[in-house]
């Protein structure tokens, strides 16, 4: 075997066709987001049937590799693939060769040897999906890489908002809390701005990254800034990503008192969202989380159909801009 060129995309043989991936919201256009939302809508209808399985991706292989813990993302990707009749494999870092010190590159090459059509990866480090994309021929879907991106979460959030308001363009969304450590926030800001929404970030100055306004949003430090929003999106305080002694906030108690999303800070008609898992009593009051106006459970349901749409779109759509017809025949 000759020299393997893996460090740069442009060192790959020129005849390799460019693969479509879903690693960042930057990988897609507004039209493509609209198409994914429309496809998800069609899948939602198919799930209302008694037999919920579709034959669409029969014979395809989807591998889920999760190097970080996950409940909703991993389960919904697995179910999404199964509902579309694809074969699935799920690998977690604990109990795999990762425990023996295998590098991500070697894990990816090993999995790539099974010729998967899609590899869904979650990893604690920014850039991990790019490594998988460089060393395999699969379409790569990013299920969260460090603090960078979580594009399918943004897609399911768009879907939830669109189902509730019947539009996204012109809506005002306030994203509250720990933006600094949040891949959910970064993907969602890009997606909302792309779809024409107005985005305000609200949180302690220590948790709003310097320069983030360049993404097309506003930043505020007073919780009162959520008053004008149609949607209040609470982010989880990511204590596990905060270094010891970093002092982002003096205490969770003070954080909850100043920035917690509580009933008293909301007005009627505002909708509350949260990507989960929640720290009840910290970033969100339990009364708000359990209130019928909260869209949190609907976000979880949207996760299934939007991930079905992503898998379907990557594996069946032709040139960008051509909307595929979803086959709704029963399996």
């Amino acid at each position: 075997m000759g020299e393997i060129h893996v460090m740069r995309e442009d060192l790959r043989p020129p005849d390799a066709p460019p693969k479509r991936h879903f690693i960042s919201i930057r990988d897609v256009s507004r039209d493509e987001l609209e198409r994914l939302l429309a496809t998800a809508r069609q899948f939602e209808r198919s799930l209302e049937r008694e037999v919920k399985k579709l034959p669409t991706l029969k014979g395809r292989l989807v591998i889920n590799v999760f190097f970080e813990s996950s409940t909703r993302t991993s389960s919904s990707f697995e179910l999404a693939a199964k509902r579309l009749s694809a074969d699935t494999m799920s690998i977690k870092s604990s109990g795999s060769s990762v425990d023996k010190g295998e590098s991500l590159k070697d894990t990816a090459i090993t999995l790539g040897a099974y010729d998967p059509d899609v590899i869904v990866i979650r990893h604690p480090q920014i850039g991990a999906p790019h490594v998988v994309a460089r060393v395999t021929t699969a379409h790569v879907v990013n299920a969260g890489d460090g603090k960078h991106q979580h594009p399918t979460q943004a897609l399911l959030d768009l879907y939830t908002i669109k189902e509730e308001f019947d539009r996204i363009d012109g809506l005002h969304v306030a994203i509250v809390g720990d933006v600094l450590h949040s891949r959910v926030a970064r993907s969602l800001i890009q997606a909302l701005v792309m779809m024409g929404a107005h985005v305000t970030l609200v949180g302690p100055p220590t948790l709003i990254p310097r320069g983030i306004e360049a993404m097309g949003c506003e930043a505020a430090t007073e919780i009162g800034a959520i008053a004008a929003a149609d949607v209040v999106y609470a982010l989880r305080m990511q204590r596990e990503r905060m270094e010891e002694g970093a002092n982002y906030v003096p205490s969770l108690r003070e954080y909850a008192a100043r920035w917690g999303v509580t009933a008293a800070r909301l007005r009627p008609g505002q909708r509350v969202m949260h990507p989960g898992p929640m720290n009840r009593g910290v970033e969100i009051d339990p009364v708000v989380a359990d209130h019928p106006d909260a869209l949190i459970e609907r976000q979880v349901r949207a996760g299934l159909v939007t991930r079905m749409a992503v898998l379907y779109d990557l594996l069946t759509s032709g040139p960008v801009g051509v909307t595929p017809e979803v086959e709704l025949g029963a399996a």
Partner: protein, 433 residues
């Protein structure tokens, strides 16, 4: 203080090149004859004396480069670079002298370690190499090294490059005590509590990508501290790899106030900004990080007006498997010896941002002067330290392009202009391609 393997001096004539020596104000087409490694004659139609001939027609002949900042990874990291491979890379890059940093395993913090390097250089070094020793034992920032003995054993200067001397009290002692050695301190300026966890420059790009930021103030605050201490102690110092606008301003103010401070900048900080990190290529990850376009503009301005007198590659080889990982996991550092001139020519000279003469001067005279080395020059009687450059050669940089043992270059896959056709170091032809 520079060491190389023994080799016979060459007799040669470089014929018909455009000779450019900015420090002497020379820019003319002529022949240069070298007898026994010494420049013997400049002029037209020189007697060839049956010397070896290097055809210079259409090429530029300039004083060879001096790199004041190289990581040779020896001892301890010989799979990434050795004295032989690193000096071969230097020869291919047009350098007639390089200075190696002491952050090896073990650290160059004793005369014994330094002595073994000097011995290895006398056996293997293709071009003369000098060694800096560390300021503190094991670079732990707690105890000073035996600077007197290290200087006697051949250390050309002192640095804890790779990590800062965090304690201001110890920094002051190092400035005071180093005076007895006749050598100066070179400082890696980084305030560790501000840079902790930092993966890239803190700014709009890091905000979007989600990386923990390494703010420019983490550098400039330490530059200000060290310049203040140098002013107070009336001691010279050299600031390594400047990256931030505020650091350049601080250096300028200190120089105007009479502090004997010099500074260096790398080709990658002159050519790129943090926008280059968007591709998440681990070969764009270095310390200090690539910064904003304002920072880059300040570095270019500082280089042009002379506040920054040295270009330094900070050549930092890494094994392939170390860089073949997600950006966040990758170590800092990129190679640079063999790409310095083509990078600077392609990104700065050809677009008209910096004149060729300035680049040549800052790659040669500037660093030699900062470390008190003989300044390479093209003059009768001077030792021959020459680089022959083809400004029209256009080529693609690949992993096969390097004589270095490592290929972690930020230019992989890029097409560049400007190649090093030949290098003469201390009177020996060390590269002719």
């Amino acid at each position: 203080m520079l060491f190389r393997r023994d080799a016979p001096a060459d007799d040669l004539v470089v014929r018909g090149a455009r000779v450019v020596d900015p420090a002497q104000g020379i820019d003319a087409k002529m022949d240069v004859r070298i007898d026994g490694g010494i420049v013997a004659a400049l002029g037209t139609d020189l007697d060839l004396n049956r010397h070896r001939i290097l055809e210079g027609d259409g090429l530029v002949l300039a004083p060879a480069f001096v790199d004041p900042h190289v990581h040779l990874r020896t001892p301890g990291g010989e799979e990434e670079e050795t004295i032989a491979s690193g000096t071969a890379a230097a020869a291919a890059g047009g350098f007639c002298a390089i200075l190696a940093m002491p952050n090896t395993e073990p650290v160059v913090d004793s005369a014994a370690v330094l002595g073994s390097l000097v011995e290895a250089a006398r056996a293997q070094a293709e071009v003369p190499v000098g060694f800096l020793a560390s300021i503190t034992k094991s670079q732990r920032g707690a105890e000073l090294t035996e600077m007197g003995e290290l200087a006697d054993a051949g250390a050309i200067g002192f640095t804890d490059d790779g990590v800062p001397v965090a304690s201001p009290g110890l920094m002051r002692r190092a400035l005071q005590y180093s005076a007895v050695t006749g050598r100066n301190l070179s400082l890696h300026c980084e305030e560790p509590t501000l840079s902790r966890g930092g993966q890239m420059h803190e700014g709009m790009v890091s905000a979007e990508l989600g990386f923990t930021g390494y703010p420019s103030v983490a550098e400039s605050l330490m530059v200000e501290r060290d310049l203040a201490l140098a002013a107070f102690e009336r001691r010279p110092l050299h600031v390594l790899h400047l990256s931030a606008w505020e650091s350049v301003q601080a250096l300028r103010r200190a120089q105007q106030a009479g502090v004997h401070a010099t500074g260096e900048v790398t080709p990658h900080h002159l050519c790129l900004t943090d926008e280059a990190v968007r591709a998440l290529d681990p070969n764009r990850k270095m310390n200090p990080p690539l910064r904003s376009s304002d920072d880059r503009a300040a570095l270019i301005a500082g280089l042009k007006d002379g506040v920054i007198s040295c270009i330094a590659t900070d050549h930092a080889p890494h094994a392939r498997q170390e860089k073949d990982v997600p950006f966040e996991e990758a170590p800092f550092g990129v190679t640079g010896l063999e790409t310095a001139f083509p990078a600077l020519y392609t990104y700065l000279v050809e677009p008209g941002v910096i004149p060729l003469e300035t680049i040549l001067e800052r790659m040669s005279t500037g660093p030699a002067r900062a470390y008190g080395l003989d300044e390479p020059r093209i003059a009768v009687g001077a030792s021959a330290n020459l680089v022959l450059l083809d400004l029209n050669a256009s080529y693609r940089i690949t992993e096969q392009s390097f004589r270095s043992k490592s290929a972690n270059s930020w230019l992989l896959g890029e097409t560049v202009k400007g190649s090093v056709r030949a290098t003469v170091a201390d009177g020996r032809v060390v590269h002719a391609g």
